[in-house]
């Protein structure tokens, strides 16, 4: 090993090679069916980062056990480890993956320069603050509650449909001016939308909210047909272990 710019590397290996070698240490904990877990999986696949998916059985309450709470104190999935660093919150994990493995896979996923990164951060926050709450509520009410034999709340459904419609109206205008939300390249922003949108389009009868809006529909078609997302969907259909 030699020290190159403050990092220990195997002599003759580039930073990229060293990163990819270390990447086999990446562990994601949680079921691929979880929207937050699938967000991280999508990011790892876009960045060509090797990882190990460790199943967590939510039905058996594995996410509330002491060993898991050490990794994720809120008892939620995903949890994530890489080279001794323990992280949680899917969007924080995605940002970390993009920074750490900047040279891997889709290099522009988190922006190629300062300005593109600022635009991505702005739309990532918009996803987290404006799109996520109503879409998550609808995914739970319409896709998960029936499967879990839980009673649906019509009031909650209506309220969140209205909120989501307003957000999608903004997206409709934006996507008439820009190919993807943050700019003309696919980014972490678009990726971040995939988990919830996927369930709404494929597992509920509200898919029209996306497909009936011209520009949103076009955007949805493009982002959902990316190889990385298709792999995530496959993983959701046949999860490892569990």
């Amino acid at each position: 090993m030699v020290e190159i710019r403050g990092e220990l590397r195997e002599k003759g290996k580039s930073k990229l090679q060293t990163s990819l070698m270390a990447a086999t240490g990446v562990k994601v904990y949680g079921p691929p069916l979880s929207t937050a877990v699938s967000r991280v999986l999508g990011c790892l696949l876009e960045k060509d980062v090797q990882f190990q998916l460790i199943p967590i059985n939510l039905a058996k309450g594995e996410h509330k056990k002491p060993d898991f709470l050490k990794l994720q104190p809120f008892g939620q999935v995903p949890a994530f480890e890489d080279e001794g660093l323990s992280l949680f919150e899917s969007r924080a994990i995605c940002r970390y993956i993009c920074e750490k493995y900047a040279n891997g896979g889709n290099k522009g996923l988190y922006g190629t320069d300062f300005l593109s990164k600022a635009s991505i951060e702005q739309w990532l926050e918009a996803e987290g603050q404006n799109f996520n709450p109503p879409s998550s509520a609808l995914v739970f009410q319409l896709a998960f509650a029936p499967r879990m034999k839980l009673k649906q709340d019509e009031g909650v459904i209506k309220q969140n449909e209205e909120k989501l419609a307003k957000v999608l109206d903004v997206y409709e205008k934006r996507l008439g001016e820009s190919r993807y939300l943050a700019g003309d390249e696919f980014s972490l922003v678009d990726l971040s939308h995939l988990p919830n949108a996927h369930y709404l389009v494929s597992a509920t009868n509200r898919g029209e909210m996306f497909t009936a809006r011209t520009n949103v529909g076009r955007w949805w078609g493009e982002i959902s047909s990316r190889d990385s997302w298709k792999k995530v969907v496959e993983m959701q259909k046949s999860p490892p272990g569990a």
């Binding site: 104190p73 924080a92 970390y96 702005q122 926050e125 918009a126 987290g128 934006r174």
Partner: protein, 210 residues
């Protein structure tokens, strides 16, 4: 540099306190929300969601307060208070706690702020069920914070960062309501809350708010 917003908007306050911490020169362009200025065509060109704040730095236009603070913290890293960590691993952990604020703390605390602070001012009746539900959610979050702050001086790492700063606007409001008991009854949370609320940059924002 321009910040468009209202001094009483918690999101605008979040951006303001970051600008003050970084000791940056900027114009605060007041948006009169009571007149619907935030829904005007010109404002929508700055923030298509019709929400405050909006931010301009030269040709760069940004919305979402937490994106504005991140931009300022990185673009002006060497000015004023360092609100981020240079070390990649530490920054990743700070980033986790920034998401915790945005995804875990924000919703129940904002709901409580509405029920216990804004609604009474607007003559809207407080919903005790909403208060109970959100107090329970907030309690779970604060239990995690209590354990975290036993190991870490600030929420993200051992120095004051955006992860702490993002809490300030709603924290300030909650401390003027009965919910303050939830903070004061947890020793580490109480220590942390008092420290960050007493920072000079935050006091400037409170003074501006009136």
């Amino acid at each position: 540099m321009k910040l468009h917003g209202s001094p009483i908007s918690t999101a605008a306050q979040r951006a303001l306190v970051a600008l003050y911490e970084k000791e940056l020169e900027f114009d605060f362009v007041v948006v009169d929300m009571s007149k619907g200025e935030h829904k005007s065509e010109s404002f929508l060109s700055l923030n298509p969601f019709g929400q405050v704040p909006a931010f301009e730095d030269g040709d760069l236009k940004l919305f979402e307060s937490r994106a504005v603070t991140q931009y300022i913290a990185h673009a002006y890293a060497d000015t004023g208070t360092k609100l981020i960590c240079r070390n990649e691993k530490q920054m990743a952990v700070v980033s986790v706690w920034m998401e915790v604020e945005a995804q875990q703390f924000n919703a129940p605390s904002t709901a409580l702020a509405w029920e216990l602070f804004y609604n009474p001012m607007l003559g809207i009746v407080t919903d005790p069920k909403a208060v109970e539900e959100n107090e329970a959610k907030l309690a779970k979050v604060l239990d995690v914070y209590e354990a975290r702050l036993a190991k870490s001086k600030y929420i993200g790492c051992d120095c004051f960062t955006l992860a702490d700063l993002h809490h300030l606007p709603i924290l300030q409001i909650l401390m003027t309501t009965p919910v303050k008991a939830a903070f004061e009854s947890r020793p580490n949370v109480s220590r942390w809350a008092s420290e960050i609320l007493s920072r000079p940059a935050w006091k400037k924002v409170v003074a501006l708010r009136g």
